[in-house]
């Protein structure tokens, strides 16, 4: 098992994009700043998508321009070539790019078929290599699709092989609707790690069925050391019915640090970020370990 894990905090993007309250750029910056204070090594700060489709992510360019120089790696999600160009113009050099493992999820998520999505991704990946941009490709609904049901592991393995030919900086296996179980994760991840190594493979889990932590552990056992999470377990994909919150960052850090796996994250300041998010959103989103951690961070912090 790895000694160190890198957490990418996706609350400001995957978390906020599904909230009924739309935060101002100032509020989003306040949240990102709280996350920087918690020493998250990477933060996905927003996305360059149409504000008509996802109004919560409007003006991400303004947010990016206001980000402090902190040592934290800022990334954004880009849906297509246009988003890529906008992000690059904004000075971002680490971007998430989503392709879905099923035909119907691609159609529902971005209005294009699977082959179109993969071809577009290949063009962007080629361009990114020239530009020196790191692309984290997300293979969404890699276990189960809300429209097509269970996704065959052989399909996912083929798709990963195809995407890996374009040398993404990171390939994230995404359980977009929180349907994966640890046995399936263990099986798929072991095969992917055997073929591609664990350096560029990561996992993005949602906690719909309370299995996200266990899925992380299953992936860790195969040496995966790149994980996404969102403070307070914020999240849910607006285009994926049934997609509930992300794995909560405070739960992930609790799990990892309890096992002696270093994350570099300050649990004390992470709890502050959780309360900041709840204040800004007028919500009560907490990870499952929050009440324990809030009493005990002194021992762990």
């Amino acid at each position: 098992m790895a000694d160190t894990v890198t957490i990418k905090e996706v609350g400001p993007r995957d978390g906020l994009q599904s909230q009924p309250v739309h935060l101002t750029v100032e509020a989003r910056l306040e949240l990102v700043t709280a996350l920087i204070d918690a020493r998250l090594p990477e933060i996905e700060v927003g996305s360059f998508v149409s504000p008509k489709a996802v109004p919560q992510m409007a003006d991400t360019d303004t947010l990016v321009a206001a980000l402090p120089n902190s040592g934290c790696i800022y990334s954004v999600l880009v849906p297509n070539q246009k988003g890529y160009e906008l992000a690059l113009s904004a000075g971002i050099t680490e971007m998430g790019l989503v392709v879905s493992a099923t035909e119907l999820m691609n159609q529902n998520n971005i209005g294009k078929g699977l082959e179109d999505t993969f071809s577009s991704a290949e063009i962007i990946l080629e361009r990114a290599l020239e530009d020196g941009v790191d692309i984290h490709v997300y293979l969404a609904v890699a276990f189960e699709c809300p429209y097509e049901g269970l996704v065959a592991p052989a399909t996912v393995i083929d798709q990963v092989n195809r995407l890996m030919r374009c040398r993404p900086s990171r390939l994230m296996v995404a359980d977009t609707i929180g349907a994966a179980n640890p046995r399936a994760v263990s099986s798929l991840v072991s095969e992917l790690v055997a073929q591609h190594g664990s350096e560029v493979l990561g996992c993005h889990f949602h906690d719909t069925r309370a299995m996200a932590m266990t899925n992380v552990f299953a992936a860790l056992e195969h040496d995966v050391r790149l994980f996404d999470s969102a403070i307070g377990g914020l999240g849910g994909c607006p285009f994926a019915p049934g997609a509930k919150g992300n794995l909560a960052t405070e739960d992930l850090v609790t799990l990892l640090e309890s096992m002696g796996v270093n994350t570099g994250v300050s649990l004390e300041h992470l709890l502050t970020a959780v309360t900041t998010a709840n204040r800004l959103l007028g919500a009560d989103n907490y990870g499952r370990s929050y009440s324990w951690v809030s009493r005990s961070w002194q021992k762990l912090g």
Copy 2:
């Protein structure tokens, strides 16, 4: 990994003993009946302890006398020889018996030192072999003690070896305060299974730090197939500061059935049992997967 797992539902004992609302025998019977309907193979229905110490468990003999003949195995917790005799008189032939891994937990839990507790357990175990009674010995605070901190695995291994000489029907490694992490579980359980086999070894996890599910998975990987849980995640030990709820039965069943591990439990009826418990207690205790399961049991049930 096992194809089949046996769940002992401990809500009516470990769950109810910490509740501010004290249920009548009739209400406790209603809850047990709902759990029988959910096809739990084993239910810990109460304990034969002093009603002064744990008033929630008073009149367990009356409850036992009213239990239907259902095929479900009913057990009770007994603190000592006197409790053993009372349970036997009530017709119970499966009993839980707690010994704690640390000196201070034994003193705080039952007012006796560690050596006294182990000696008493040995006498009861010897007697049970003569009587044909199944004893499930619980080794409490097997990972961390609220009074003494981390418990050395070597200590636990020695204690299990000692207890195993008296041939208990089951040896349950209990994380009484929910402090275990899956790496520690994996390490300890693999050693215990190597020495004693997995037939008589089980695990009892609490979910204080949101790691109970992951700990189950870690134990499953070493072929453990006996687990305790409580509907709605009810629980907490009145004598163990910081002990929060048990692993929720609905979460455990969701995890296991998702992985293709058979439990025999009806998720549909389990949800009814959860709402029954909440109605009786005037509470809102739900497992973490409850909202998803309640929408989706049709697919799983």
